[in-house]
């Protein structure tokens, strides 16, 4: 747990209960959690706080997740390299998710309804380990 103390995760998710539940679990696991309700706020927060990983929903008001990912990747070196996990209930080919992932590496895709909280946490750790 302690090794994750300073690891900052940004959750960008418009469904408040989902966002809160992921945040609670991640805090319990020792992460520092930031949250935004749409892509626009998420982008600002990401550029300001520079989290170690972004957990990103796709269908959101104001700015969707794929647009946020595109814009973040184009902003600066941090934005280009921060790992992003798209966490959505859309299927892989919807909204050209797979194309967006290939274009915006390091980016990954998980289906929310198929993954337990503990599995998501495990994936986050794997991605963070791959980054270092």
């Amino acid at each position: 747990m302690t090794e994750d103390k300073k690891t900052k995760i940004l959750i960008v998710e418009d469904e408040a209960v989902i966002s809160k539940t992921y945040a609670d679990e991640l805090r319990d696991e020792g992460f520092l959690v930031l949250a935004a309700m749409n892509g626009k706020d998420g982008l600002e927060l990401a550029l300001r706080e520079k989290p170690d990983l972004v957990l990103l929903d796709i269908l959101m008001p104001v700015m969707d997740g794929l647009t946020m990912m595109d814009q973040l990747r184009q902003k600066d070196l941090y934005g280009k390299n921060v790992p992003i996990i798209l966490l959505t209930n859309l299927s892989a080919s919807e909204e050209n998710i797979m194309k967006a992932i290939t274009k915006n590496e390091p980016a990954y895709y998980l289906v929310k309804s198929d993954w337990n909280l503990s599995q998501v946490v495990q994936k986050i750790r794997e991605r963070l380990a791959a980054k270092t």
């Binding site: 209960v17 989902i18 209930n89 299927s91 892989a92 080919s93 919807e94 309804s113 909280l117």
Partner: protein
């Protein structure tokens, strides 16, 4: 003598008259034929002009010899401007990524390259016909694009290859309808899955022990909520799969995969369920590293469904056998003669079997045999329907042999040439 001359004159006159009549008859016949030809020509032209699809005919060099009115209307070219020019130069073909399809890959050139294939009939009709299966676009004279389905065929006259005819249809409307269908499913998928996702996450938090401990009874309740919710997610996924099948909006995209490794990984995922049911598992891989062009998610769905069924319908202590191998064309598999080289997965069990009277219905949507209901009450009756639909759409096949109370054997074949790519709009699950 005078009498003789009279007779001669009379005979000459008759001959002349006969000749004149014959000539008149020939002229009349010629006129009739000319009129008929003109009528036929006018009729042919009217037919060509009335065809709702664009049509262009080329000679054996691919140069345009004829186009119909719809071609002119759809592409903005007049026949007089383009006659004698190469079709591939006049009408560029663009793929979905916006790139021009190279000339050798154009359907017309496939036929022009191998006209020998086109000389198998004795009439003026066509034989080898190619139809585009992925979305392609034609570029108009003004540079704008529109999506088309193109059917290209050789023209044979008296058994001789004389050119190519291409018929194309503007599918802009169909594309729009597909988009609406996909958006509906996409939205349904998202909206229907969000509430059970929330329940899933919250029950996991509650059961994780980080929010305090529960009594045994309370924990049992939360376990029941969790498993019912998982069923709800499965049902939503299954119903979405069925919707996609019925709306024809799913995509089969293939990549070269080690088919046995995928089957092995599915068995690994199901290991705990197999152990829980105290079932014996026998895995036989006839060959190793069988590389097949597969759409992995669809292939997984097919195999996973069949193995899960075997688990559900086999009593404790029973046996499940999974066999993977290649079978050559002409060999018999499960009482069926294979018409091409195939990768084969055979899933057999010693379970309850399918009653004879129900066997013709098991691939029907929502159908469940009575003994299946008894053994596994939670099934939806959609699994085998989805499996069959996937295989039907991808060039594979499935059949079975079964005896009640003895067990079932399901055979799945995928051609060694791979699953057939099908352009829909969406992935089948999730």
């Amino acid at each position: 003598m005078t009498q003789f001359l009279e007779v001669k004159k009379s005979s000459d006159r008759k001959e002349l008259e006969d000749s004149r009549n014959a000539i008149l008859n020939v002229l009349e016949d010629l006129h009739t034929e000319k009129v008929q030809l003109a009528e036929t020509k006018a009729k042919d032209e009217a037919i060509l002009a009335s065809i709702g699809d664009g049509m262009v005919a080329t000679d054996t060099d691919g140069k345009i010899v004829l186009v119909n009115k719809m071609f002119e209307k759809m592409l903005g070219w007049k026949e007089t401007e383009i006659r004698g020019k190469l079709l591939v130069e006049i009408v560029p073909m663009i793929n979905e990524s916006g790139k021009a399809i190279p000339e050798p890959e154009r359907p017309i050139n496939t036929i022009l390259k191998e006209p020998a294939k086109a000389t198998t009939t004795t009439t003026t009709t066509t034989t080898t016909t190619t139809t585009t299966t992925t979305t392609t676009y034609y570029k108009r004279k003004d540079g704008t694009l529109f999506p088309v389905v193109i059917t290209t065929s050789p023209i044979l006259a008296q058994n001789e290859f004389v050119g190519v005819v291409e018929v194309f249809r503007d599918i802009t409307k169909e594309k729009e309808i597909d988009k609406v269908k996909s958006e509906f499913i996409s939205l349904a998928s998202h909206q229907l899955k969000t509430p059970p996702t929330i329940v899933k996450l919250l029950t996991e938090r509650l059961l994780g022990g980080k929010m305090g401990t529960f009594t045994k009874k309370q924990k049992e309740c939360f376990d029941d909520i969790r498993s019912s919710n998982e069923r709800m997610i499965d049902i939503v996924n299954t119903l979405l799969s069925v919707s996609r099948i019925e709306l024809g909006s799913f995509n089969i995209e293939v990549t070269k995969k080690d088919a046995c490794a995928i089957v092995q990984s599915i068995l690994g995922e199901l290991k705990s369920v197999i152990n829980k049911g105290q079932l014996k598992l026998q895995i036989i891989f006839g060959d190793k590293n069988i590389m097949v062009m597969l759409d992995e998610p669809f292939f997984r769905m097919v195999i996973s469904n069949l193995i899960t069924n075997a688990i559900h319908y086999t009593a404790k202590g029973g046996e499940i056998r999974v066999l993977c191998k290649t079978v050559n064309k002409g060999q018999v598999l499960g009482e069926k003669l294979l018409e091409e080289d195939c990768f084969v997965v055979v899933v057999s069990d010693t379970g309850c079997g399918i009653p004879q009277g129900d066997q013709s219905k098991i691939f029907t949507k929502f159908f469940r045999a009575d003994n299946a209901r008894e053994k596994h009450a939670n099934g939806t009756g959609l699994g085998l329907y989805i499996v069959k639909s996937i295989l039907d759409h991808s060039g594979g096949s499935i059949w079975f042999t079964s005896r009640e109370r003895k067990g079932s054997v399901f055979y799945v074949t995928i051609p060694m040439t791979g699953m057939r790519v099908e352009a829909g709009t969406k992935e089948l699950t999730t």
